[in-house]
Amino acid sequence: MLSAILVMALGAIVLGAALGFAAVRFKVEGDPLVEKIDAILPQTQCGQCGYPGCKPYAEAIAKGEAEINCCPPGGEEGIRKLADLLGREFKELSGEHGVEKPKSVALIDEQTCIGCTLCIQACPVDAIVGAAKQMHTIIAAQCTGCELCLPPCPVNCISMQVLPETIDTWKWKYPVIGIQPVATKDAQHA
């Protein structure tokens, strides 16, 4: 009886020590699910989802507090990827958060800019350079097109420019079979 208790207790101690060691040694930093969700989100940092950035939205999704269809820049494809990752049902993009738009960047009309620095404070990715009472400009390559700089501007000198297609960004289109009109009697009459 005693030996049985001792054996069980010893087993419990050994396993407990092993588990305790593993918990310290192989500790997972942060929530890997949040990282995975964050990798799918487009990192526009626009806040259209109602959270102050992509990471907070990812955290909210991981906790089950947020729906997966609140990210307009990610679009339908982003929602599909999130649905795949989380095993949730695909949902159409919810209209209250905005609509999917073509990729654009902000442009400051440098003639009108008064150098108030309000847009610099609003930019989530530090893509605006300038100083107080100095002209500001946008680093187009870093701009995510979040539109957060538009509302604070007191002189409305920032506009969004849709990025044009260039030879470097041009994509081959999905092959479609051209439908040839068949000459019918009706068509000939018409």
Binding site: Q43, G53, K55
Partner: protein
């Protein structure tokens, strides 16, 4: 005799070489306006070095190479730059990109040309010359040649590609027949740059005159390590990995490049351009273009880069029923939406098509998984699987099936009994994957910048708090000091009062003494 090997797959389309290979290369007359794109290499555009209104000489640099992978662009003739503006390029997208529009003065005044002795010059200087002469791979890929001459490890074999396997095209054939001496000289220059032990010229056996011409040129210079090999005519024998396989037996694996196996490959046109650039100081400002297909007078023309195609096409006298022009051959070329675009370094052939000569394909049918494409694929891929994944936009799977090893040769589509435009699907999938990779990089940068901003804001807040705390402490210390000073003053006052009192006491004592 060199032992030859076979590459897997391949197809044998009708070669149609005789139509345009019979007549010598003719020099095309100078067009009224030349439109020279600044973007003429696979690695991006050159930096614009001219302004509208500037006079340029033939061979003058108008776009300089930037970075290790840059390639330069030159004025094809002397004249005046009348505009630097975006013009449509010969590209499947027909999108516009910056070009220099040059009005020739007809004098053809060369800029200063300095020949180099390639065998007594530092290889780095020769390499710089190749870069500054704007030489890119003329087989169609237009990759900067100076980059290819810089191999990370020892190059044992240099392969000069004269296979020209694509039907209808004969520009390399004519070049080998007429200008073999320069091709051989160029090959020797490249061979020396790379320290190659042997140079192999691969020519398809449907071009015996070209092979003989190269042989004669080699005979004259007594190059012991050079050899001309007649390779069996089988499309795509002119693919880099395929030709290397045939000539050396080395199979370059998935995702690897041939220099890792001690082999490098250049097109005959590139070798010719290298010889002109090094031995004569002439940059790449003209190339041979085949006019083949539905023409009355097909043939090969030496054309200045930038010549509008509309100015070149009449030389071949296209038939009236020509309905479209394809740049490149029937297997890998693309239809031009507009024939006013200029000839560029990548233009090897302008194929005129008509309904009669190239009947439109019958409608596409479902894939029956017959496996004909797999047997035809020279890269040992599984085209039907790639098709399936590309069609369903399952790009991850397509990459697992080595989509990026596809050379878009078109063998699979050629043999497909269901007439599926397979290559279109692969091109679609490749460009989608590339776009996604660009987006991923942009998203990662944005995340990093956003996180750094968060970190910075936190840090600023902490710094501000620390500053405030420091200030509060300072004020407190100051107050304490003031209090102390006050106290001291009070102390001082007290002593003063005591002194006064003492003085008063003294006065009082004196008064009492006096009155006493």
């Amino acid at each position: 005799m060199l032992e030859l090997f076979r590459f897997p797959g391949g197809v044998k389309p009708a070669s149609h070489k005789q139509e345009s290979s019979g007549t010598p290369i003719a020099v095309a007359p100078l067009a009224e306006r030349l439109v020279v794109p600044f973007r003429q290499s696979a690695t991006g555009a050159a930096v614009i070095q001219v302004r509208a209104g500037e006079k340029v000489l033939k061979g003058q640099l108008i776009g300089s190479a930037e970075g290790a992978f840059g390639s330069s662009v030159h004025a094809p003739t002397s004249g005046t730059v009348i505009a630097v503006e975006a013009r449509p390029l010969p590209h499947p997208s027909s999108l516009a990109a910056p070009c220099a529009v040059i009005e020739p003065d007809g004098a053809e005044t060369w800029c200063e040309r300095t020949p180099l002795d390639p065998f007594n010059t530092d290889p780095e200087i020769v390499r710089a010359r190749i870069r500054d002469a704007g030489i890119v791979g003329l087989g169609g890929a237009v990759f900067p040649s100076h980059v290819k001459t810089r191999a990370p490890n020892r190059i044992d074999t240099l392969v000069i590609n004269g296979a020209e396997c694509e039907p209808w095209i004969t520009c390399d054939d004519r070049l080998m027949r007429e200008r073999a001496a320069d091709i051989v000289a160029g090959a020797e220059i490249i061979g020396r740059l790379m320290g190659a032990k042997r140079i192999l010229f691969g020519v398809e056996d449907n071009k015996p005159e070209a092979a003989r011409s190269l042989q004669d040129a080699l005979g004259k210079i007594e190059c012991g390590s050079c050899q001309v090999a007649s390779v069996p005519t089988l499309y795509p024998a002119g693919g880099e990995k395929q030709l290397i396989r045939v000539l050396t037996g080395v199979e370059v694996p998935y995702g690897k490049l041939s220099p890792e196996y001690g082999i490098q490959c250049f097109n005959v046109g590139t070798a010719y351009a290298v010889a002109r650039a090094v031995q004569h100081g002439e940059p790449l400002i003209a190339r041979i273009v085949t006019l083949a297909g539905n023409y009355g007078q097909p043939g090969n023309f030496e054309v200045a880069i930038g010549t509008p195609m509309d100015a070149l096409l009449p030389l071949g006298q296209p038939q009236d029923d020509t309905d479209r022009i394809v740049m490149g051959g029937p297997m890998m070329g693309f239809t031009l939406a507009d024939t006013s675009v200029p000839i560029v370094k990548a233009t090897n052939c302008l194929l005129a098509m008509s309904q009669k000569l190239f009947p439109p394909p019958l409608p596409e049918m479902p894939c029956i998984r017959c496996g004909a494409c797999t047997r035809a694929c020279p890269m040992i891929l599984q085209p039907h699987e790639l098709y399936w994944y590309a069609k369903s936009k399952n790009f991850g799977k397509a990459q697992e099936y080595h989509l990026f090893d596809c050379i878009e040769c078109g063998c699979c589509a050629f043999v497909c009994p269901s007439r599926i435009p397979l290559v279109d699907y692969y091109r679609f999938a490749k460009s989608e994957i590339r776009a996604r990779e660009r987006e991923k990089v942009a998203a990662d940068t944005a995340r990093e910048r956003y996180e750094f901003r968060q970190f910075r804001e936190e840090r600023e807040k902490a710094e501000k708090a620390a500053k405030l705390a420091a200030k509060a402490a300072e004020t407190k210390a100051k107050l304490a000091q003031e209090e102390a000073a006050q106290a001291q003053k009070v102390g001082a006052d007290k002593t003063a009062a005591e002194l006064i009192a003492a003085a008063q006491a003294r006065v009082q004592a004196q008064k009492e003494k006096d009155s006493a």
